[in-house]
């Protein structure tokens, strides 16, 4: 008992000490940058991260998730340095909280929606084919906030399909959750980004033409108060020629980056 108490006291003291000491020594704190990025950027960023680290000499940590969740994290004080959102609305959330480093917000990439179906053949080649009764479950990002879901809703509304198909939607916390549900066959169809459709074993039914769907823009910004030289280096790398080429390889459309 007393021995246990002593051990417990020792652990408590050690924890208290650890809590007081800064997690990273100040001298190297700037050498690591946390990039909070939309889950649709997963494969792209994993691909370019090593080159980014070589070029900039900065260690990159990726925090991937639904842009809405990432925005909430930042607003609640999460230590993110760069925010890459899949829609303007979530960047607006961060900006309204006064957490975008002034002058750093840029429109980084454009994307398109795609409709995917699970392996076995339900013929889907246009939005109205989703009305087919065999399409019982349509996986989407949560239309309440997850960017891919918000875009999917806008797309369905534009084709007057939202009221009918709303009941068949299965919302996910990230676009990748929706993608996985179609890949596993648990959902019959899904609405994801065209870039997501390339990286999974799903059947691409069709890519929504740019003029038939919502305008899809990925804004980028440095988080206020965290615009260290290291963070700026990574931020600039993301807009470099090398990064743009990689974005194009993954199906994204690099924007000129100067406008908002």
């Amino acid at each position: 008992m007393t021995r246990l108490a002593r051990i417990a006291a020792a652990v408590a003291v050690a924890l208290a000490g650890a809590a007081r000491a800064p997690a990273v020594p100040a001298a190297v704190a700037g050498d690591e940058v946390v990039v909070s990025a939309a889950s649709s950027l997963t494969d792209l960023l994993r691909e370019i991260a090593p080159d980014c680290e070589r070029t900039t000499g900065v260690r990159v940590r990726l925090n991937l998730g639904g842009s809405n969740a990432l925005a909430r994290q930042i607003v609640n004080g999460a230590p993110a340095d760069i925010f890459l959102s899949a829609d303007a609305a979530q960047m607006d959330v961060v900006e309204r909280a006064g957490l975008v480093e002034p002058g750093t917000r840029r429109d980084w990439l454009a994307n398109q929606l795609a409709v995917i179906v699970r392996g076995s053949g339900i013929p889907v080649s246009g939005p109205r084919d989703l009305l087919d009764r065999r399409v019982r479950r349509i996986a989407v990002g949560d239309p309440a906030a997850v960017p891919s879901g918000v875009y999917a809703r806008a797309y369905l509304e534009r084709h007057q399909l939202w009221p009918v198909l709303q009941d068949r939607l299965v919302p996910f916390a990230t676009v990748r959750g929706a993608l996985a549900a179609v890949a596993s066959g648990d959902a019959d169809a899904g609405i994801v980004f065209a870039t997501d459709a390339r990286v999974a074993t799903v059947r691409l039914a069709f890519v929504v033409p740019r003029d038939a769907g919502p305008r899809i823009v990925y804004p980028m910004a440095l988080v206020r108060g965290r615009a260290t030289p290291a963070a700026r280096k990574v931020f600039d790398y993301l807009r470099s020629e090398a990064a743009r080429a990689a974005c194009e390889r993954f199906g994204f459309i690099p924007l000129d980056g100067s406008r908002r």
């Binding site: 699970r118 906030a145 299965v170 919302p171 916390a173 066959g185 648990d186 959902a187």
Partner: protein
């Protein structure tokens, strides 16, 4: 208002009740068997029956997803029989039932073990069949433990999150339960609605604890 508070609350209570009822008969029978019988492999059965209690709920959820999803032969058989489980309320009940099962088994078993075997033996000498002994002697004498176990399983079901999101998702009006709604409301920036649902859960928890206490004191 992004979700209907009362709709979510009523749905959660209804599915939690359904899960508790669905699990009660097999759980109580298993508890009785574990308390009264010895058989080869008993230790294995005991361990399996406790697994959902100690496994991470999402891991249990993944197992269930694989079991009833379209990737499994069983899931496809269900589907061709016209029974949709995954992403429906049935999946919610399934997740809740599996998670509550060990709590009911363990509590009921402890109750059966406290029943004096002499009463059961006396009933047997008077010619009662084993099932009659169970229904008229063992079960009534262990009833407080069984009800307490059911209450525990029900409370566990009300709070189920990990397994539920895996097999049932979070479809408003279809599979959205209180804990999942709180999570997705907070994630989507609806802090006010999330807070309201949090208050509702506090109220339900309060009522459940009060009921359990009352149950215990009235028995003494």
């Amino acid at each position: 208002m992004p979700v209907q508070i009362w709709e979510v609350t009523a749905f959660t209570i209804a599915v939690a009740l359904a899960a508790t009822l669905a699990t009660s008969v097999p759980a109580v029978l298993l508890a009785w068997v574990l308390a009264r019988r010895t058989f080869p492999g008993k230790a294995l059965v005991e361990t399996l029956a406790s697994l959902p209690l100690v496994m991470p709920p999402v891991a249990t959820g993944l197992l269930l997803l694989w079991a009833v999803g379209r990737r499994s032969a069983f899931g496809r058989a269900l589907e061709s029989a016209g029974i949709d489980v995954i992403f429906t309320w049935k999946a919610v009940v399934l997740a809740m039932a599996v998670m509550g099962f060990p709590l009911l088994v363990r509590t009921a078993r402890a109750g059966f073990e406290q029943v004096n075997r002499r009463y059961e033996a006396m009933a047997a000498t008077l010619g009662a069949s084993p099932s009659r002994i169970f229904l008229t002697v063992s079960l009534p004498l262990a009833s407080r433990s069984v009800v307490a176990g059911a209450l525990l399983a029900f409370s566990r079901a009300l709070g189920e999150f990990g397994a539920t999101v895996m097999v049932a998702g979070s479809i408003p009006g279809r599979t959205l339960t209180l804990p999942v709604a709180i999570y997705s409301l907070a994630e989507t920036g609806h802090d006010r609605a999330a807070g309201q649902l949090m208050l509702v859960s506090v109220a339900i928890a309060f009522a459940a604890v009060a009921a359990a206490n009352r149950l215990q004191s009235s028995g003494r």
